[in-house]
Amino acid sequence: MKFIRSEPAAFGLFLLLALAMALIPSDYLFDAVLTPFLAVSLAALGLNILAGYAGQVSLGSAAFMAIGAFSTYDLLYYIPGLPLLIAFAGAGLITAAVALVFGLPGLRLKGFYLAISTLAAQFFVQWVFTNFPWFSGGDSSGVVNAPPIAIGGILIGSPLRRYLLSLLIVAVLSGFALLLTRSRVGQSFLAIRDNELAARVLGVNVLKTKLIACAVSGFYIGIAGALWAYLYVRLIEPAGYDLNFSFEILFVVIIGGLASVRGAFLGAAFMVVLPLALSRAGAAIFGDTFDSGLVDISEQIILGVLIILFLRLEPQGLSALISRLGLKKKQSHPLPSGVSHEFN
């Protein structure tokens, strides 16, 4: 286990595993498990850059995913012939711009105000997409099937191809995130999270750095939304991107590990497995009385308990727990201990 201690090595191992998965001949696995897992991982990675590294909690991730989904649709609809990957990138940029608009009022202030300004995004964005058919290409029903997509003439039509495309995009963006978090900018994210005043004394432009984190985060989450809409649900509709989804992405980050790239993947995997495991375990122990409603409720309680336990005992989440499987590990981005943190 020693060599997965460094994130790049773990990243390589993850890629190998993910590619090996492609050999399994199961459409269900790709369509219902792996592709949504990758999309959620990417969204969580985006949120982790903002919340875990820069310490700014956003509650609007699902809304930003919706912006990514609708922007992709609109770019492809209103600019015929636009290559798919360019549309994905464009959707990421549009989402980053919108994230900045909603982030600015909250990021100018110290503390949790971003949570409120991103809640504004959550409610406003869903309303806009529901009320203005222009965004759905003039369709007023609010639900549009995602048109077939192709890259360079190759139709992305099978579950395996959808999985491989999302894997490609997620791999590239994760690699970039690893570089970013190790760069000077990434280090200034951590400096701001740990102590804004000290960061400023060290010469970090606090507002500018927060805005960079917000824009990068928006870019990632927007592309995650595009993957979710085009490669997983294959529908363009505002309904799925509700507040609960935003919370779930935040929970993925907390459980997987704040300020850790692989934490996003571990947390997303956990969130995919938890409901399945719960319904199996519940059915085995309580029999038929354990219906889907009860699964939902117990999942809520277990998630809540896990959030509090992880925040109390292991803020670096599953990521740190896995590192412990090896010997003592020098933690790369330890969260501040209570004492060193400024009290206010």
Partner: protein, 295 residues
Amino acid sequence: MDWSFFAGVVIAGLLAGVMYSLVAIGFVLIYKTSGVFNFAQGAMVLFAALTFVSLHEEGVPFWGAFAITLAAMIVLGILIERLVLRPLINQPPITLFMATLGLSYIIQGAAQMLWGTQVHQLDLGIADVPLPLNNILISQFDLFCAAVAGGVVAALSLLFRYTNLGLAFRAAAGDSFAALNTGLRLPFIWAAVWSVAGFIALVGGLLWGARTGVQFSLSLVVLKSLPVLVVGGFDSIAGAIVGGLLIGLTETLAEIYVGPLVGGGIDQWIAYVIALIFLLVKPNGLFGQRSVERV
């Protein structure tokens, strides 16, 4: 323009705002004394209302059910202090905020696990008939809510001003280190203040529950009260009231006069737009004292 209709809309908006204030006050209490941005306030409203209405349906008389639910809220307050706040003491505010998100999931889940997920009707015995006053229609139920909210605020001010507990609350709010130095036990104060917030959640839950039915969506009233807090200031009870009135008023006016132009439903977000404007222009809110640092 029909002025008596307009006046009716204004009054209805203000009275709706009172309902937001009621939830916001519980939030302010906790923020003031322990610095925690308590997202679980809405879940506490749901838990209290669901417990009360289920007991009442089992045949427990009104005040009996009220007392048992209040006791449950106090136990909940003590448990939260023990299991969540104390272990997380001195952590950054953002960590505490995320912990209250987890807490709200636990409380919501527990409430539904205990009492089921069906919608309950709650009848407080106040008829919801419009009361005509100079051609202006005013809902009797809204007036009752406003009176109850007024009573709660008055009781809170008395508690804060004339009791030792209130003095301790104010000391902890003013400077928690100094309070600790004079021998006040902060853990006790926190448990007490969460219990008082539980009481307010119970009152709010009964009024909201009587209006909308007791169901899961009650826990979402916290989302309505957040903009109220931004407008009024997170640490001011007066701010929570004025903020609530302002938000209630704008929401109702906007939905009636602007809504039809853009397809309706703007009451879903108009409060948040007002909050965003306040964050940009006056981040302390109207009455906030604790200084908000800009970067």
